[in-house]
């Protein structure tokens, strides 16, 4: 049971939860990222995700390690889907279990922000009048420091 995975088919949320739920945990927080139809007035018809799969899975696992270090006693699972996705399809599911609820919320938020920084996955938007690789959701297209900010606290 891989806890950090790039997948090519639909993600079942319960499967991701099942990877982290356990007796020591009093909370499981999940984040579900879905395909949005409208972005700044533009209508997405569908989109495609591509990944550098082996490195992406390693980077997802690294996020899991960061979470374990920051929130002791936590357990994380992340699955990200690639390929062609339609509106409202699930692109990513994160589940974090912790002994108490506050850390589960914080860690889950941290995971999605880190995915957008350090995991080699790319999204191509297909609109009714064109297409474009999305490269700067965080407006970090030029990586101001020349590399992803590995230890910076992005959880404020």
């Amino acid at each position: 049971m891989k806890r950090f995975e790039i997948v090519t088919g639909p993600i079942l949320v319960q499967d991701i939860i099942d990877k982290v739920i356990r007796a020591e945990a009093g909370a499981v927080n999940t984040f579900i990222g879905t395909v949005r139809e409208l972005t700044k007035g533009k209508r997405t018809v569908f989109l495609k995700y591509e990944a550098y799969i082996p490195m992406a899975e390693r980077q997802l696992a690294k996020i899991g390690d960061e979470i374990s270090a920051r929130w002791p006693g936590s357990r994380t699972a992340i699955s990200h889907r690639i390929g062609s996705l339609d509106i409202s399809d699930i692109a990513v599911v994160i589940a974090v279990s912790t002994p108490h609820r506050a850390e589960a919320f914080d860690a889950c938020r941290y995971a999605i922000e880190r995915i957008k920084e350090i995991v080699p996955i790319w999204k191509k938007e297909h609109w009714d009048n064109g297409e474009m690789w999305v490269g700067d959701q965080l407006e970090t297209a030029a990586y101001s420091k020349g590399h992803p900010e590995s230890e910076e606290d992005k959880n404020d």
Binding site: E50, Y52, V92, K116, I118, P120, W122, A142
Partner: protein
């Protein structure tokens, strides 16, 4: 042989996902210069990160036969 992987828009511009370089030892910056020349695209690596064997690396990193270099355009997962 050094393997070079390209992704997303960079892959489309180059028309290939993978290149093989015959050199035995190169710095990342040398590979970038060579590809910029090959594709006549001096802006090719702006905003792009590099990885060697699936770990982020910088321009001074040396790679040798058997290594895989990946150029990572700004990521947009999630």
């Amino acid at each position: 042989m050094i393997k070079v992987l390209l992704f997303a828009g960079m892959q489309e511009r180059a028309g290939t996902a993978e290149l093989q370089l015959d050199e035995v030892r190169l710095r990342i910056s040398d590979i970038k210069s060579a590809l910029e020349k090959k594709y006549d695209s001096p802006q090719m690596f702006i905003g792009c990160l590099s990885a060697v064997n699936e770990e982020f690396a910088d321009d001074d990193t040396e790679v040798s036969t058997g290594d895989t270099v990946a150029f990572i355009p700004p990521v947009s997962g999630g």
